[in-house]
Amino acid sequence: DALRTMHQIRAAEETIGDMVTAGRIRCPCHLTIGQEAVPVGVMRHLNAGDRVFGAHRSHGHYLALGGSLDRLMAEIQGKDTGASRGMGGSMHLIDMERGLFGTVPIVGATIPITVGAGLAAQMDGGGAVAVSFFGDGATEEGGFHESLNLASVRQLPVFFVCENNFFSSHLHIGLRQPHDSVSRFAEAHRVPWQRVDGNDVVAVADAADRAVTAMRAGQGPQFLEVVTYRWRGHVGPRDDLDVGVRRSDDLHTWKLRDPIGRLAAALVASGVIGPEDSERMRADAQAEAQKAWDRADRDPFPADEALLDRVYGGRRDAAQVREA
């Protein structure tokens, strides 16, 4: 199941990557290939009522929450049937029914917003949690620190999940920070933290389980640093071998730690699945992704009115009508 979802995410993104290469996508797509274990490991411990926020690299978060593949493909194509009704594209995904409350590309922007969802959860008193996915680069934004302090001092059920893939765009963390682990910030703000191998879905899931359990018990915020690596470039399907000194060697090493391959091997070894099952899942996911793309391709774009009708709530204002 975790394996199937990871295959689904990767297949979806490989299809998206191909479409970018084929010039059929204009909107910027940040692929999470290589990091699939993180969303899959964390989401498995979330319930209805929990709220999740992401950033620019969030196809995986959307799909791991059970978001519709069709609506993802439609959104990337700017179709009215998309997750954000064609208004947001790859970098602005939402699916409130499944708990995805928003992903946006301004680095670090959703971290304080997640703290607010944690505040809401605390006021609701139902034991729900708020989860923020962000990258190592986001820890350089001041808002990240303000958020940790606010969640810590008010003991809010906020789960800070940092996907440390050592890169912010073209820059390795060694050129941006004095140390390559970001858990030190959780320590400073007195937020309990764990640091795990982000390419081991079981390790991620266990850590998430511990964190979420503590939060539901009212023990305040938690921080999880998952160490991982993105196989593709910062944006699009290229692999950015042109940036960063050690990028190409590292990439080679990390591909040997493929989260999908590792889980598959473990499941085969323990006899849970047969030797061909993983490959079959991959092929199915691949076909599914292609079908979803083709279906979305036939969907309509938003009507022209959407441009002004979706700015404010309800029907247009007197003021707006006059403008239009």
């Binding site: 709220r51 926020f53 998309g82 997750a83 954000s84 009704r85 064609g86 208004m87 947001g88 602005h92 939402i94 409130m96 409350f101 928003g102 946006v104 301004i106 922007a109 971290i111 304080p112 917003i113 997640t114 703290v115 607010g116 969802a117 944690g118 505040l119 809401a120 959860a121 006021m123 609701d124 708020a130 001041g142 808002g143 303000e146 958020s147 302090n149 606010l150 001092v153 008010r154 959407a306 009708d309 979706r310 700015v311 404010y312 709530g313 309800g314 204002d317 007197a318 003021a319 707006q320 006059r322 403008e323």
Partner: protein, 347 residues
């Protein structure tokens, strides 16, 4: 108003709105700097924390960005937060959350996401506080589609427009001004207005000159109009109230009648609200203008601290009266030799 009516000061009217909201709507809460302080936001929120508890009236660390983002997050989850910035200057640290997040969230996600967030930015200036404790910048925020901007000039609006802002499903920047807190008005019962129906309002009917303003500048116009009345000039005063989105109809109809437009604004001139009003007229009914439109705004400088310079910097009633007189006594330029008008009005 007469001695007998019970009147309410602007600052207290704001507090009454909070009281009403916190009593009536369990999803309403307020968060920001100074909310557990006896003096931080003047008399506009006194003891709300004692009355409604420190979980619904939340004081915060010095973290404007995270505080504003947190309020936005709670709003997405169905609450109706009012985030307080005791000074607009401090609020600027939260620009990204206000302008790039809150204002865009609904549109960016398809139009169905409600963002019932109210951001209260207090204009707190003068008193020799200087350049970093004085900014208004409502023109800035009015520039941003998706963000409603409200600026009450009277105690009644201070109360009812705050309630309307909080009940609105869009992000609203509510800008009040410490210089108005002692203004008094006899208030009727609270009415829950639909903010989308609200817009500029004629405060006073006149025939010779149209004055347009918002917030404290509206007060200056009313005072100036009184002085001008002594010399027989009758002014039509339009209080903007809602700066974005703007509905210019009342203004256009007024200028249509008076032929003279004076806009007063407590913000800077370049790309400011005063210029916007002038532009609305010039792009619809320029022929109605029988004299050049006129702006009275802050001097084109950061706020000074030195007393004498501070008095030059902020427009006062006399500046408005003088500008109005020049407009009224100025030549009718409808068929005008506009060379001379350039010399005359170009300064």
């Amino acid at each position: 108003m007469t001695q007998v009516d019970k009147t309410t000061p602007y600052g207290i009217a704001i507090r009454e709105a909070f009281q009403y909201l916190l009593e009536t709507y369990p999803e309403a809460f307020t968060i920001g700097q100074g909310l557990w302080s006896p003096w931080y936001v003047g008399n506009s929120m006194t003891d709300l924390d004692k009355q409604f508890g420190k979980d619904r009236v939340i004081d915060t660390p010095v973290s404007e960005l995270a505080t504003t983002g947190a309020a936005l997050g709670a709003a997405l989850c169905g609450y109706r937060p009012i985030v307080i910035h005791p000074r607009v200057d401090f609020m600027l640290l939260a620009t990204d959350q206000i302008v790039t997040q809150a204002a865009k969230w609904r549109h960016m996600f398809g139009g169905d996401v409600a963002v019932p967030l109210t951001i209260r930015g207090i204009i707190n200036r003068g008193g020799e506080q200087g350049a970093q404790h004085s900014q208004a910048l409502h023109s800035w925020f009015a520039h941003v589609p998706g963000l409603r901007v409200v600026m009450p000039a009277t105690p009644g609006d201070a109360r009812d427009l705050l309630i309307a802002s909080v009940l609105c499903d869009d992000p609203v920047l509510y800008v009040d001004d410490r210089w108005l807190y002692e203004e008094e008005e006899a208030l009727g019962p609270i009415v829950e207005l639909d903010l989308r129906e609200e817009g500029p309002r004629r405060l006073r009917a006149g025939t010779d000159l149209t004055m347009v303003a918002s917030g404290y500048s509206t007060k200056l116009c009313v005072e100036a109009a009184d002085k001008l009345a002594e010399s027989g000039a009758s002014c039509d005063i339009i209080d903007l109230r809602v700066l974005n989105p703007i509905d210019p109809q009342v203004i256009l109809e007024s200028v249509q009648r008076t032929g003279r437009l004076l806009v007063v604004d407590g913000d800077w001139s370049n790309c400011g609200m005063a210029g916007e009003i002038v532009a609305r007229v010039a792009e619809t009914i320029p022929a109605a203008l029988s004299a050049p439109a006129r702006r009275v705004t802050l001097a084109d400088a950061p706020a000074p601290t030195s007393g004498p310079l501070e008095r030059l910097y902020y427009p006062d009633t006399d500046n408005v009266v003088t500008a109005a007189r020049e407009l009224l006594d100025g030549p009718d330029v409808r068929f005008g030799d506009s060379e001379s008008t350039m010399r005359r009005w170009g300064t």
